[in-house]
Assembly symmetry: C2
C-alpha cells in the first residue's frame, strides 16, 4: 500500500486482501500471466481425461489452431504442468499428459468449472438485460 489514497471499506477484505494483486510479482498474477488465455485451461481439462495425442487433442478442443495448440502445449510443458513424450513409431507419435503438478492445478480449478456449469445461465441473462437497456437508451 504505497500510499493511503485508496480507502477499502471492509466488506470481505479479510478473505481477499492477501496476495497484493497490484504488484506485478504476486503469485496469482504470475499464474494468470501463464494460463489466463483462451486455450490453456481447455487443454488442461481435456488432458485431465487421460494422455492424448496431438491430433486427437486438436479435434477435442474445438476451434484451436495447430499453431496455438503447439504453442500452448509448449508453454504448459515449460511450466511443468504437462509432459510430452515422443514414441518412435512411423510416423512419429507424440503423447501429452498432465503432470502431478498439473493435476493439482486442475483440482483447484474444479470449483470454477462447477460455477460455470451452474451460474452461466445467470451471466447470459445479465448480458441480455444489459443489451436490452442499452438499446432502450438509444
Amino acid at each position: 500500500m504505497q500510499d493511503g489514497t485508496f480507502h477499502t471499506p471492509g466488506h470481505r477484505q479479510e478473505t481477499w486482501a492477501r496476495g497484493d494483486v497490484f504488484a506485478a510479482n504476486c503469485p496469482t498474477r504470475q499464474l494468470l500471466d501463464r494460463i489466463a488465455d483462451k486455450w490453456s485451461t481447455l487443454i488442461l481439462i481435456v488432458l485431465g481425461e487421460g494422455p492424448i495425442r496431438f491430433n486427437a487433442l486438436k479435434q477435442r478442443v474445438d476451434g484451436v489452431s495447430q499453431k496455438m495448440l503447439s504453442q500452448t502445449l509448449k508453454s504448459l510443458e515449460r511450466d511443468g504442468l504437462v509432459s510430452r513424450s515422443v514414441v518412435a513409431t512411423v510416423p512419429v507419435s507424440v503423447t501429452y499428459a498432465v503432470t502431478p503438478l498439473g493435476c493439482t492445478l486442475m483440482a483447484a480449478m474444479q470449483s470454477m468449472i462447477d460455477w460455470a456449469e451452474t451460474q452461466m445461465p445467470q451471466v447470459a441473462a445479465a448480458q441480455t438485460a444489459y443489451d436490452q437497456r442499452s438499446s432502450d437508451a438509444h
Copy 2:
C-alpha cells in the same frame, strides 16, 4: 463424441469428463471466453476488497491501461459480475463493486488463488529446469 477415434484411458475420467469442452457451447468454455484474459480476474480480486473508484482501481491493478480497464469493466458489468454507480460529485465520481453473482465467482476462484500462492515456486522451478535443458541441447 462424434466418433470413436480417440481413446481416453480412464485415469480421473469420472471427475473431468463432464462439460464436453470440445463443444464451443459448453459452460466452462463460455466462462473462459469472458474472463480468461489478462485483467478480468485481477480486477475482480481487487473489487472483492470493496467498492472502489476508477482511478484508484487503475492504481491498484499495476500495469493496466485506461483503455483495457474501462473495456474490461464494461464487459464485467455486462456479464452481471460488477456494478457501476455514478455519484454526481464534482468532478463526477464512478464507483465499481462486485455484485452478489460476482462474489460467488470469486469464491469459486479462491482455490485457484490459493494454488498460485503455494505452487508457483514449483512452476518457476520447472521453467528454469526446462530452459536449462533447452540451452544444454543447443
